[in-house]
């Protein structure tokens, strides 16, 4: 193991939050290439079979315990209490994560509900924040926070599956149109003349 890899391992071990590459470069006084090489070395060292793993989370690097060791870890230290997120909160987060920065109105229009209270609750939990406005006096536009990345174990902003992956398939969209059409025809027959 190189000296640099040892040094970075020690830094990650004591750091209370993920350390990003510029911080690691600054502390160790090394080039980006060297730091990356050392991180690769560390990742290999903490590959399968060890209790710790090197993870890229929220724009930085962290040494953390493996997921399967959670039960034993929690016998030493009580598991942090995480407040549950409602399906409405998750749906709103999904809209913000993919479309950020996005206004309340845009979220509400997409979801078909009034999202004021949900947006406020997500702001309170630090999962979203106000971003740049389109115009100085325009409505607030929201974006996800570093805390959001951490809680969802995402490496960085935009570390999400493509939205296309979640789109309706052709047959599904077709089925929806067909069932809607069925209803419309009836409505038509009911009202009589066009």
């Amino acid at each position: 193991m190189t000296e640099l890899a040892r040094a970075i391992e020690a830094l990650l071990f004591i750091a209370p939050e993920p350390l990003d590459q510029p911080t690691l470069m600054e502390i160790t006084d090394e080039s980006p290439a060297e730091v990356n090489r050392a991180l690769d070395e560390l990742r290999e060292r903490h590959a399968e079979g060890t209790g710790l793993e090197l993870a890229e989370v929220a724009g930085g690097w962290a040494l953390r315990t493996r997921a399967d060791l959670a039960p034993i870890c929690d016998r030493l230290r009580a598991r942090p209490r995480e407040d549950r997120l409602s399906p409405a909160a998750l749906e709103t987060l999904a809209v913000v994560a993919y479309l950020e920065p996005v206004t309340r109105r845009e979220i509400g229009r997409l979801r078909g509900v009034d999202v004021d209270s949900t947006v406020t609750s997500l702001l309170d939990r630090g999962l979203i924040e106000e971003g740049d406005r389109a115009q100085p006096n325009g409505p607030a536009r929201y974006q996800t926070t570093t805390h959001f990345l951490e809680r969802f174990g995402l490496a960085r902003r935009g570390d999400l599956p493509t939205l296309e992956r979640f789109e309706l398939t052709g047959p599904e969209a077709q089925a929806i149109r067909a069932r809607l059409q069925q209803a419309e025809l009836i409505a038509e027959a009911e009202t009589g003349e066009p």
């Binding site: 004591i14 750091a15 209370p16 793993e53 929220a58 962290a62 953390r64 315990t65 997921a67 060791l69 959670a70 870890c73 230290r77 942090p80 995480e82 997120l85 399906p87 409405a88 998750l90 749906e91 999904a94 994560a97 993919y98 229009r109 997409l110 979801r111 078909g112 509900v113 009034d114 209270s117 949900t118 630090g126 805390h147 951490e150 809680r151 969802f152 174990g153 995402l154 939205l163 296309e164 979640f166 789109e167 599904e172 089925a175 929806i176 149109r177 069932r179 809607l180 059409q181 069925q182 209803a183 419309e184 025809l185 009836i186 409505a187 038509e188 027959a189 009911e190 009202t191 066009p194």
Partner: protein, 240 residues
């Protein structure tokens, strides 16, 4: 022809509370063939869309489209059961409305699924444990070193703000007492002065103030005013 079994419909009622809005409900039901749209309790749907009891009030526009749609379907089912012919005559308005609704559903769908992905992701991310504190929950301490710095920071907050300057607010160049003095002096010297002569080179404000000064002298019994013609010059005569 199947008999209408109302008790079966009641037992299969859909729990509207479980859906995150009209699109969630409609999309889920449209994609799930086993759920008959007609099992939906229309009255509950209407109530859900107009009450504010829930955290997120349903968008009126979207939910009324949904209710219209369901009512139409219920109507069709009833007609078919009665053996009525149902005509297939497309109405451009109906087609436009259907297209608009399906466009909104298609736009909404990816986020409904992305939310499910996020939920799974959240569950998976709960496994690993971090040293000391989970990331994001450590709150930074604002002033770490000494109370003096904290006090300095506090002082800045309680300091009175600077008094705003009023320089730009055009102040009267000649205050009333000065005009009063000038008027008295003129009367003392000449006994009778013309108002017009007193306000040569004065602006409207000074003119008004001079008149006020003259009226003040009258009030105090030091002078009398005389104006021979309306809007004419005013003679200010000193009373000895």
């Amino acid at each position: 022809m199947p008999a209408l079994d109302s008790s079966a419909a009641l037992t299969q009622q859909v729990e509207i509370d479980l859906f995150q809005g009209p699109f969630d409900l409609l999309l889920t039901l449209l994609l799930r063939d086993e759920v008959d749209l007609l099992e939906l309790p229309l009255a509950d749907l209407v109530e859900e869309s107009v009450t504010t009891g829930t955290d997120e009030r349903w968008d009126l526009d979207a939910s009324s489209q949904l209710v219209l749609l369901l009512a139409a379907m219920a109507d069709l089912k009833g007609r078919r059961m009665l053996g009525e012919e149902v005509e297939d005559e497309p109405d451009p308005d109906a087609i436009a409305m259907r297209e608009a609704l399906s466009a909104r559903l298609v736009a909404y769908a990816p986020f409904q699924r992305a939310a499910q992905w996020l939920a799974e992701r959240l569950r998976a991310a709960q496994g690993p444990r971090y040293r000391r504190v989970p990331p994001g929950t450590a709150t930074p301490v604002p002033v770490r070193d000494d109370p003096a710095r904290l006090r300095a920071a506090m002082d800045k907050m309680v300091e009175a703000p600077p008094v705003p300057s009023l320089d730009h607010m055009g102040v009267a160049r000649r205050p009333l007492p000065e005009l009063l003095g000038r008027l008295r002096e003129s009367i003392a010297r000449l006994r009778e002065v013309s108002f017009d002569s007193m306000v040569v080179d004065c602006d409207r404000l000074e003119e008004a103030l001079t008149l006020l000064a003259a009226l003040e002298l009258v009030r105090r019994g030091e002078a009398e005013l005389r104006q021979d013609v309306p809007f004419g010059d005013i003679l200010i005569t000193g009373v000895r």
